[in-house]
């Protein structure tokens, strides 16, 4: 059976690449620290020696729109283009082509259906920054095949936090059951408190530092009870209008299980709290 080599849950700040590669005299003061933290975080994936990445993200109206927006979707293509024109324009993120893994995509899709998750699917999927940002931060060579999974954290009505947790648990079972000797890592991105296009956007900190502090504590200690007790769609809205991306971090903990992280770190940046979590559910990295 396959080995779950690592589970990573990370915020995705689309300006990371730009902020840390522009001429040093133009960089923000935190850029070197940000880069150091990201590179230390990257090592938690590298040392797990993964062969395949299951990537969790959310399409931000790049391929999918309100005429047909999936709650949960899996990519089943042999390869994936990434980065849309408007992401290159706004964030300076380059284009990528990632190899897919059709066999695991198919096994995952069937396993999800068997477990009550009737996923939408795509055989021509272009990935957006929710998946490419963590590739840039955790696997910049982009040299591993991926199985992309999209969730709806973006357009109400959204699935519940409990549903994200349960989906994570189901993905874990499927990875554990995959008949292969390969090492699979799951890497997903989301947010802590976040405001976009509203009165609390682009402040000195994220819109709700108190939520951010608690969320880091809950995730790093594997405390799903506290999350499900405290986090609702309404509470996330109160923490910032785009905070629902937190549910993808809940999903990642669902893949790991209710256990403490092996590694976590965070960085208080303008506009958001960045946070990085890694679990090794099967013990220390290889």
């Amino acid at each position: 059976m396959a080995t779950l080599a690592a589970v990573l849950a990370t915020t995705h700040h689309p300006f990371y690449l730009k902020a840390t590669t522009m001429p040093p005299e133009q960089q923000m003061p935190q850029a070197p620290e940000w880069k150091r933290k990201v590179e230390a975080y990257r090592e938690t994936l590298t040392c797990a020696k993964p062969d395949i990445l299951v990537m969790i993200g959310a399409d931000h109206f790049h391929q999918f729109f309100l005429d047909n927006y999936p709650q949960f979707l899996i990519g089943k293509a042999p390869r994936y283009d990434a980065t849309f024109y408007n992401e290159e324009r706004e964030f300076g993120i380059p284009k990528y082509v990632l190899e897919g893994h059709e066999e695991l995509s198919n096994f995952m899709h069937e396993g999800l259906m068997e477990r009550g998750f009737d996923f939408a699917f795509s055989h021509e999927l272009k990935l957006d920054h929710s998946i490419i940002c963590p590739i840039i931060t955790t696997r910049p060579d982009a040299d591993l095949p991926v199985v992309p999974i999209y969730t709806n954290i973006f357009v109400p009505p959204l699935p519940s936090p409990k549903r994200f947790w349960d989906l994570g648990r189901a993905i874990r079972e499927i990875i554990d059951a995959y008949p292969s000797d390969q090492r699979i890592a799951a890497v997903g991105s989301g947010h802590l408190s976040l405001e976009l296009g509203g009165p609390r956007q682009f402040k000195e900190t994220g819109p709700d530092p108190d939520f951010d502090r608690k969320a880091i504590e809950w995730l790093s200690t594997g405390n799903i009870e506290a999350i499900l007790e405290n986090v609702t769609h309404e509470s996330m809205t109160a923490s910032g209008n785009a905070t629902h991306g937190f549910m993808d971090l809940i999903l990642m903990m669902g893949i790991a299980g209710p256990i403490p992280t092996a590694y976590h770190d965070n960085l208080d940046l303008f506009h958001t709290m960045e946070a990085y979590f890694t679990w090794y559910p099967e013990g220390a990295a290889a």
């Binding site: 408007n86 109400p156 976009l196 296009g197 509203g198 009165p199 956007q201 209008n241």
Partner: protein, 127 residues
């Protein structure tokens, strides 16, 4: 009620550099062209006949009025992204990084601490 259609305007214009340029330079003309020939497209072959902009929505789009769009419950990501594309560079040159984003937030300060207008589409019909 056509919150969907306002969102569709922002979605289709933001992803097309030529439409975006026209929306920056001559919004009235671009909105008119869009209503005539772009908005109704379901895909390259099919048209959809069921959507329209209200006068208030059309005015908000023509005036780049992101406060009005916020108050109509237009999706925050679409609105922020397209107006960053239109204004960020000019503001940056004049007043430094994030000055547009901060002015955007400032103009919405009267919503701080209140329930924002919902971005859900099905609730708009009830209003």
């Amino acid at each position: 009620m056509s919150k969907y259609y306002v969102n569709k305007f922002l979605f289709t214009v933001d992803r097309d550099p030529e439409l975006l340029r026209r929306y920056k330079e001559d919004p009235r003309s671009l909105v008119a062209s869009w209503e005539q020939s772009i908005g109704p497209k379901l895909n390259d072959a099919e048209v959809s006949t069921v959507n329209f902009l209200t006068d208030a929505e059309r005015d908000a789009l023509i005036n780049h009025d992101y406060v009005a769009l916020f108050e109509m419950g237009v999706h925050f990501f679409l609105s922020l992204t397209i107006f960053i594309a239109i204004y960020d560079e000019d503001y940056m040159t004049k007043s430094g990084p994030l000055s547009f984003q901060r002015e955007f937030a400032e103009k919405l300060q009267h919503w701080t601490g209140k329930d924002y207008p919902s971005i859900a589409l099905w609730q708009a019909a009830a209003r």
